[in-house]
């Protein structure tokens, strides 16, 4: 999973199936990644940055899933 576009596509597809607003997650993840000094390849990110991005994705998905459950 080194190509940013592939990463976004895969994530967006997965989340779209999980809850109604999953498609919004694509823009959300893109916005997160764009904050890292123009890095566009997964290999360019430090391990800390990768953890930070994944944790943010994980937490927001949990929050939205719970919101959908009501």
């Amino acid at each position: 999973m080194t190509d940013l576009q592939t990463f976004l596509d895969n994530e967006a597809e997965a989340y779209a199936d999980m809850f109604e607003g999953g498609y919004v997650i694509r823009g959300f993840i893109r916005s997160i990644i764009e904050g890292y000094d123009g890095k566009s390849d997964w290999r360019e990110f430090t391990p800390e940055e990768r953890s930070e991005i994944i944790l943010n994705c994980h937490r927001i998905v949990e929050l939205l899933r719970r919101a959908e459950e009501g």
Partner: protein, 170 residues
């Protein structure tokens, strides 16, 4: 700790400008998230389920957010618990704003408090502005977006401390 409601138009300095910019965007987009949202890397998204007793569950923590700086890298999967454990009084004091925002209020406040940094003998005054509003992120229910920024007074205090640290180091 004092929490005062402030009209965003009266929030001064760069912090005030950032909060006004985000508020204008939210009004313009009817509070729907779009990737061009300003201040995205400074905000925090939380759950809409805000009891008023605790800071609600935190979903997203901007890499340049104030709370992330305050927590000094404590970055687990349950950020709200980390804050609660570190400072239960702070958690309780600021929780009310989230509950009001969950009800649909646009919350704009000045928060003033004193903190004792680790190893320090005296308290340091801390003041910051905060915005809390609802944000639609695609799910049937909105989340809350929180932008917290130190006021310019606080910013100058921060610079003073940095200066002093620099002098001590030499």
């Amino acid at each position: 700790m004092h929490i005062k409601r402030v009209d965003p138009a009266n929030m001064t300095g760069l912090a005030g400008q950032h909060i006004q910019e985000l508020d204008a965007y939210l009004r313009q987009t009817d509070s729907a998230f779009r990737p061009d949202m300003p201040q995205f890397h400074r905000v925090v998204f939380t759950s809409i389920k805000a009891s008023g007793d605790h800071i609600p569950q935190i979903g997203y923590v901007g890499k340049n957010s104030y709370i992330k700086e305050v927590m000094e890298g404590q970055f687990g999967s349950d950020f709200a618990s980390a804050i609660r454990n570190q400072d239960p009084q702070f958690d309780q004091a600021v929780a009310g704003g989230f509950a009001r925002a969950a009800q649909g209020d646009r919350v704009f406040e000045l928060v003033e408090m004193e903190v004792t940094p680790p190893g320090a003998l005296t308290n340091i005054p801390v003041s910051y502005y905060r915005l809390i509003e609802r944000l639609w992120l695609g799910a049937p229910q909105p989340v809350l977006v929180n932008l917290t920024l130190p006021t310019s007074a606080q910013f100058h205090e921060h610079l003073f401390l940095l200066d002093r640290a620099h002098l001590t180091a030499n």
